[in-house]
């Protein structure tokens, strides 16, 4: 049977994992059980900062039924490996945040395990806590970036505009809470569960358990959403499950309910940002100064790299000859903050994009034209001095979004509507222009040293072997398409191996919008190598039958033929970690977002009427899945702007329930118009760049700009709530 090399990349093929998800057959960690299973719970601190003296166990409780792990029981090192390992798996000597884990308890009956928590108390001596990053004296990381001479440029500026912006915590609220199941199999300690980075977890297990690598195994279970929340935290929950299973020599399941997940796991870093911008008379940028302060929570975790991305994005997708950025990540006695889609860029871009509204007011120039004048274009040099040679879609997305939304017409219409005293509402339309670097910042990808492989089994099965995890974003499908296209075979000939550290190489974490571009690039490379090997067998790829025949010969001793590709940076790529200058990312994606909204004059209730966005991310491997990413990320951005209010007091979240922390429901999602602009990059497979996080950056500043249009006021803190708006509306 002859098969044509059907164009696979660029086609909206159905998800490869759809069947099991649609039928309820997909197995998430809480669906799994094993004989002799123990249920685990975590004893957590209720105080924010204290000297830990010990635990007091109620002698009347049948503790012999339980397995207990405290800090002193950790066989390896009591430090969770992130960039540093200052965070202990279990508190020892000090408690540094509310909800800090102090001990682990497992029991065959889940209810009994929760009951046990009521029979042990933490003996500690309170210490003074710090809850506001601005009061903190402990800095996890500081980054300075300087280009040109800002002082001189400000003195030459026709306009100088300053502004302060404030961003809150944001909770991931993935529908599947965090969970891990640890069990022994063939003398290896295996842990399966909900995660984004199997090799990060493997490293954490090695630290905690001190078993050799071949005795540890991490396997991804179906994962119900991550958004970065399962990038870092799983190191802890998988470590905890493993510690209990190691001690008990029995399988242990540790799954958080929603209350615990919201109280104890990571959130987006709150940020305080101060901007100072100098422009010439025509509105061209002469100087951009930014000061960023991120609240890291109690331990360093990923704060240094969140800060890094925030610093690089702090000046927006613009060309400016003089730049000075200073960023700090500070410690507070709150649960550590972590990765969340965008990773510092949503915070930085909210400030720089909303700042244009202040600039427009001061200069009298049009906010859209200011973008057009200053946007990066091919040949531009970025904040870090990186020359963008090609694939710079900033102006293309700007024009596409303006056209699709009929921005000028809508704006005039809304202005007329607002001028009518009889109107019961105020309407506003706002725009943002944003970017997002794909892959790890600077030398990060080189340091990751990722690998991916393609294998051919004796029975003719072609497998993609990568550590990248399907978490809903469609990576499994995208990698299938890339492999199929590279080989020139039908899509359904390819199978993607489930991420299992005993079977797949370390492709790096599933984060930073790197999976399609970096790992996809490696998969394509490996597939091309397989194709080359099969060149000795003319017609091998023409049919499954001939492929099987070739495989039988190629697979010596019946074992699979495995071709592995290893990451190499683009040619000429340079990065200086000290000066923060050079090639920060192999490629940037660009997006223009336009939000139309309506505010009720009597109640200040705000309803988003429409969101229009044009995205340029090289090329869509799968347009349907890409639109799904854009719609989902855009709605999370709208939630960040208007609905999601994490209320903290004394370091603890007060509204940690889905009833009280409001993520958008179906009625909150506006109609969305999505335009995909193609601009292939040489640095990604078939021209593709990363997409996962780009949709998150644009909506919030566009919302704030729309609120400015509607009310005449710039609200510089998120979320923008009716409570904030109503005092500024005149009596209806």
């Amino acid at each position: 049977m002859k098969t044509s090399s059907k164009r696979c990349v660029g086609a909206s093929v159905a998800r490869v994992d759809a069947f099991e998800k649609l039928t309820g057959a997909a197995r998430y960690v809480d669906d799994l059980t094993r004989p002799g299973l123990l249920h685990a719970v975590t004893l957590r601190s209720s105080v924010a900062h204290a000297r830990l003296k010990g635990l007091i166990f109620d002698p009347a409780f049948p503790w012999h039924e339980c397995v207990i792990v405290q800090a002193q029981d950790i066989p390896g090192k009591n430090g969770v490996p992130f960039l540093q390992d200052d965070q202990p798996f279990l508190a020892q000597d000090f408690i540094r945040h509310p909800q800090e884990p102090v001990a682990l308890i497992a029991h065959p009956d889940r209810a009994a395990a929760y009951e046990a928590l009521k029979h042990v108390s933490i003996d500690c001596e309170a210490l003074p806590p710090v809850f506001d990053a601005r009061d903190s004296k402990t800095c996890f990381k500081e980054i300075r970036l300087e280009k040109g001479d800002c002082a001189r440029a400000f003195s030459e500026s026709a306009f100088v505009v300053e502004g302060d912006y404030s961003l809150p915590h944001q909770e991931h609220a993935y529908i599947e809470t965090q969970g891990a199941l640890a069990y022994w199999e063939d003398d290896a300690l295996c842990v399966t569960g909900s995660l984004q980075c199997p090799y990060y977890v493997l490293k954490a297990l090695k630290a905690a358990i001190a078993l050799p690598e071949h005795s540890l195994r991490v396997i991804q279970a179906a994962t119900g959403g991550g958004f970065g929340g399962k990038e870092d935290y799983p190191n802890i929950i998988f470590g905890h499950a493993a510690l209990l299973a190691y001690k008990a020599k029995r399988p242990v399941k540790l799954v958080y309910d929603r209350l615990e997940d919201m109280a104890a796991t990571t959130k987006r870093h709150p940020a305080f940002i101060r901007l100072k911008t100098g422009l010439d008379r025509e509105g061209r940028l002469l100087a951009q100064e930014a000061e960023l302060l991120l609240d890291g929570g109690a331990y360093s975790t990923l704060s240094p790299v969140v800060l890094s991305r925030a610093v690089v994005h702090a000046t927006g997708p613009y060309h400016c000859p003089n730049v000075r950025v200073r960023g700090r990540a500070a410690a507070t006695n709150t649960p550590p903050n972590g990765a969340f889609r965008g990773f510092g860029a949503p915070q930085a871009l909210f400030a720089v994009e909303l700042h244009w509204e202040a600039i427009a007011r001061k200069t009298g120039l049009d906010a859209v034209e200011l973008r057009r004048k200053n946007a990066l274009r091919p040949g531009s040099s970025t904040t870090t001095g990186q020359e963008l040679k090609e694939s710079v879609g900033a102006l293309a997305v700007l024009d596409a979004a303006l056209k699709k939304s009929r921005y000028a017409r809508t704006r005039a219409q809304f202005t007329r509507h607002n001028g009518n005293p009889k109107s019961k509402t105020l309407k506003g339309v706002g725009l943002s222009l944003t970017h997002h670097g794909a892959g790890f910042t600077g030398g990060g990808e080189l340091h990751l040293d990722s690998r991916a492989a393609v294998s051919l089994s004796a029975d003719g099965t072609i497998r993609v072997l990568a550590g990248s995890t399907e978490i809903g974003q469609g990576s499994k499908t995208a990698l299938t398409q890339i492999c199929a296209q590279a080989l020139g075979v039908p899509f359904h000939w390819i199978c993607v191996e489930n991420p299992d550290t005993s079977k797949v190489p370390d492709s790096g974490p599933t984060v930073a919008s790197r999976t399609t571009m970096v790992v996809g690039g490696l998969v394509r490379q490996a597939a091309l190598e397989l194709k080359e090997r099969l060149a000795d067998f003319p017609g091998a790829l023409a049919s499954l039958k001939s492929l099987k025949a070739a495989a039988r010969t190629l697979c010596i001793d019946g074992g699979p033929l495995r071709l592995e590709a290893r990451y190499a940076p683009p040619e000429g790529f340079v990065w200086n970690e000290t000066t923060y200058r050079g090639d920060a990312y192999a490629a940037y994606g660009f997006a223009a977002t336009i939000v139309e909204l309506e505010i009720d004059k009597a109640t200040a209730e705000t309803r988003v009427l429409k969101l229009t966005t044009a995205h340029e991310f090289g090329r869509a491997v799968n347009p349907l899945l890409a639109e799904g990413q854009i719609a989902g990320g855009a709605l999370q951005g709208l939630g960040y702007a208007l609905l999601e209010h994490a209320v903290f007091a004394k370091g603890s979240m007060l509204n940690g329930q889905l009833t009280n922390y409001m993520i958008p429901a179906a009625t909150d999602a506006p109609p969305m118009e999505i335009v995909i602009v193609d601009s292939p990059t040489p640095h990604g497979p078939f021209g593709a760049k990363g997409l996962g996080e780009l949709p998150m950056n644009g909506p919030a500043p566009a919302v704030a700009a729309a609120v400015h249009h509607a009310t005449g006021r710039i609200f510089r803190a998120l979320p923008i709530r009716p409570e904030d708006i109503l005092p500024h509306l005149s009596n209806p």
């Binding site: 209810a111 009951e115 009597a602 209730e605 007060l654 509204n655 409001m662 909150d668």
Partner: protein, 283 residues
């Protein structure tokens, strides 16, 4: 999920008499209707070792009957209530309020009995029930009484039911005449599926020359319990509905409420929004 089902003592009633007898014999039991409040507490681990009295099988308390008055059984679900043609006709504000509570899955289980007994300050059915001047029928093994709905609430999540009392039905008397205007409006963080920051219900009867015959206006989430804006109501009775009178009525809102700042909203917002909604209703 922290609840221990093995620790719960489960009692089940099929008739009102059975329910009242079991409740009298087990005074510490927690009456369970649709579960939308109680089961959340169970899931959080707060109900272990308690006794639960399941009322969901008491069919007689599910009935909705329309005669001179509209009697809604305490166990009728929100879906059943809002779909009943007589409710839609005679108590449209109640139907509207119930349609905005949670989503269909919650409405298929939530009951007025459960809501009233739970006495949340933010109960959305309470402002409509208050302006319809509903009466709650309370029964125990040896007594029966009917009280105005607002008297069923003693404080935040505290009802004023006496020991052994269960709610049989909620009775809405006929309105004196067709109101000139009516309003139900709920403000929540989300456009749907949200606990109220504030919900209001209003009925207005106007006579000749815009003279106010009667105003009934009720609010939730502005005090420990739902309230009628009595001062504004009394002030406007008999007055002409002109701008100064409307303004004065809006000022008087603060006499009958004591809003607070909480993680859902602020006192200042609630008061301003409430005034604006009342003003818009009267204008």
């Amino acid at each position: 999920m922290r609840g221990d089902p093995k620790s719960i003592r489960w009692l089940r009633a099929r008739t009102p008499e059975q329910a009242l007898a079991l409740y009298a014999q087990n005074p510490g039991a927690l009456p369970l209707a649709g579960g939308s409040d109680l089961m959340v507490a169970f899931n959080a681990g707060h109900l272990n070792r308690k006794t639960v009295l399941d009322l969901s099988g008491v069919e007689r308390w599910r009935k909705i009957s329309a005669g001179r008055t509209l009697a809604i059984g305490s166990l009728a679900t929100f879906t059943e209530i809002q779909n009943h043609p007589q409710v839609a006709k005679r108590a449209p504000l109640l139907a509207l309020a119930l349609s905005e509570v949670g989503g269909p899955a919650v409405q298929n289980r939530a009951t007025l009995g459960g809501n009233i007994a739970n006495a949340s300050p933010a109960g959305d059915s309470f402002p409509p029930l208050a302006v319809y001047e509903a009466r709650v029928h309370l029964m125990s093994v040896d007594s029966q009484r009917a009280i105005p709905v607002l008297e069923a609430f003693a404080g935040v999540k505290k009802n004023s039911l006496k020991p052994g009392e269960l709610i049989g039905c909620v009775e809405l008397p006929a309105l004196p005449s067709k109101p000139s205007r009516s309003l139900f409006r709920k403000l929540g963080t989300r456009s749907a599926q949200a606990v109220s920051k504030l919900a209001v219900a209003g009925l207005l009867w106007l006579g000749k020359d815009r003279r106010v015959v009667e105003l009934r206006f009720a609010v939730n989430a502005m005090a420990p319990t739902a309230r009628r804006l009595k001062s504004a109501e009394m002030f406007l009775r008999g007055k002409t509905l002109d701008a100064p009178a409307i303004e004065r009525a809006c000022e008087l809102v603060s006499q009958d409420v004591s809003p607070i700042d909480d993680f859902r909203s602020s006192a200042a917002y609630r008061l301003s929004a409430c005034r604006n909604l009342l003003r818009a209703f009267l204008s």
